[in-house]
Structure formats: C-alpha cells, structure tokens
C-alpha cells in the first residue's frame, strides 16, 4: 500500500526560493530578448551584443544561484 496519507513536510525556504527566481528569470529573459531584438535590427552586431549579454546573464543568474545556495544553507 502506498504512503499516500503521508503528511506534507519540507522547508518554507523552497517557496521563498521559488519567489526569488522571479526576478532573475525576468532579468535573463529581458537580456536575451534585447539581444534578439538587436540582432533583428542589425545582424552583424550579434557577436558584440552576445558577449555583453553573457556577462550580464552571469551577473543576473548569480542572484538565482545565491538564492538556491541560501535556501539549502539557512535553517
């Protein structure tokens, strides 16, 4: 028989982390949407835009990564 009557347990940290991913998610989406827009307007500038975009992506993504680290670390 399955343990389906099990009590839901876990950490509220994960809900907090879920909320915290909203910001970086929007940020990363915005960065690459700008690159797509820029490429559509001026295809030859794609390389220059992408190299800036990767740095920006790394910085924005760092927030989400710090979030997941703290969600596991903080009790």
């Amino acid at each position: 028989m399955l343990p389906l009557d099990a009590v839901l347990n876990g950490s509220l940290n994960m809900i907090g982390y879920g909320l915290a991913t909203l910001g970086p998610g929007l940020g990363v989406a915005w960065i690459f949407s700008s690159v797509i827009n820029g490429t559509a307007r001026q295809p030859e500038a794609r390389g220059a835009m992408l190299s800036t975009a990767w740095i920006g992506f790394a910085v924005v993504e760092a927030l989400a990564i710090i979030g997941i680290a703290l969600a596991f670390v903080i009790k």
């Binding site: 399955l2 990767w54 740095i55 760092a62 680290a69």
Partner: protein, 266 residues
Amino acid sequence: MSAMIGLLIPLEGFPPGVNSFDSKPLFPELGPSWYWVNNHLIQAVIATVLVIGFWLWMAREQKVVPGKRQFFGELAYNLVRNSIARDILGHEYRRFLPYLLALFSFILVNNLFGEFFLFMFPTFSKIGYVWGLALCSWILYNGAGIHKYGLFTYLRKATLPEGVPVLLWPLIIPLEFLSNFIVRPVTLALRLFANLFAGHLVILVFVLGGTLLLESGQAFLVAAGGMSLIFSFAIFALELFVGFLQAYIFTVLTAQYVSSAVAEEH
C-alpha cells in the same frame, strides 16, 4: 519486474532527496581507507578516457576531403573554435582553445551520463567535482591576466574600471574584487551544480514515483504511474538539452572571463 527495473535504473529509495546523491564505494571490503574509490569517481575517470579517446580518434589520419568521421569531428571542433573561442577571445584565441575544448567535451560527456544507462547519474550533481572545474577556470583566467600584465597591474585593472572618480574608489574596489575573484568562480560552479542536481531530482521524482504508483495495484494509481513514466521521457529530453546548454554556458563564461582578464582597454 522490479529486478529488471533495478537493473535498468540503478535508483533506489523513496522519497528521493539529498540521500539519492550519495556515492557508493566500489570496494567496500578493502576498508574505509579505500572508500574514496566510489562509483562517481570512476564515472569521471571514464568520462576523461572517453573524451581523450574521442579526440585522438577524430584527429587520426586527417584528409583534405574529410570523410564522415572527420566531418563529425570538425563539426564538434568548430562549434567550440568558432562560436565560443574565436568570437569571444578575438585574435589570441588559439592559446586557450585546447582548454576550452577539453572543458566543453568533459562537461558534456559527464552531463550526458545523467541520461545514460549504466551510469544514470550526472557527475556534476556532486558539488566537489564542480569546485574542481571552477578552480581550473579561475586559475586560467587569473593566470592569463597576470601573465599578460604582471600581478599588480592586473589587480588594478581587474578591480578598478577606468574613469571612476577617486571618491568612489573605496566603494568600487571591494565590490569589483568580490565580483571578479569570488562571485565569478562560485557562481560558475553553483550554476552547473544546481542545474544538474535539480534536473536529476526531477527525474528521480518522476521515475521513482511513477514506479511506486505502477506497483500499487489500484487502477487509478496505476494509470497515474503510467502517465508519470511517459512524462519522464519528456523530462529526460529536457535534461539532455539542459546538459548541453550548461556545458556551453560554462565554456562561454570561462572564455568571457579570460577575455575580460586580458582585455586591452578596460
């Protein structure tokens, strides 16, 4: 049936959690001093051998008009050479190409192990392996900068962007130092780790939960378990893509960091 499932999917324990990522020593009879030879270490070693073997095989007997094997090898090589190394590093990309290519293929092979029978585990969802890779990249981009500019010039260039007013120096220098020497390697490592850890956990939930429901014997739950197992194929496909994407991002960011360390104007 469960024996067959155990053979195909060497996963056990429900609910899946952090414990599902524990390493198993390969030779438990040799005592605790040999526990470091575990299945995940061997997996990483096999990946190394595979990568070295692959590139040696691809580099053998090269012809002006490539055959199928050489064509495939050149396709894989050109992906890293043209779209990562040359685009980002500019004219001095050749010196860094061997490291970038090795990095990309090693991460890719290890990530694909997560969807590959016999292994069924992405090596980089163990965080220790990821720290090792990030340390290599950290040494590379700082070493490249120090080699080009000398220690003090490099530190000044890395921590102080040009054109910052003197009043802001006490604020900018610690921030840039933190960002360039601590946050970069840590996020490089944790990005790879967190993606593979989370992906493998989702696979475990779908496959283990589906198997458990399938064996429950109640019609409704068996149907749900079947659905869960079918959906796990989609998750596996997603993880194949994520594995490739993370290998690509790790390599691109390493190249980017090297490029910003050796950049002429800052």
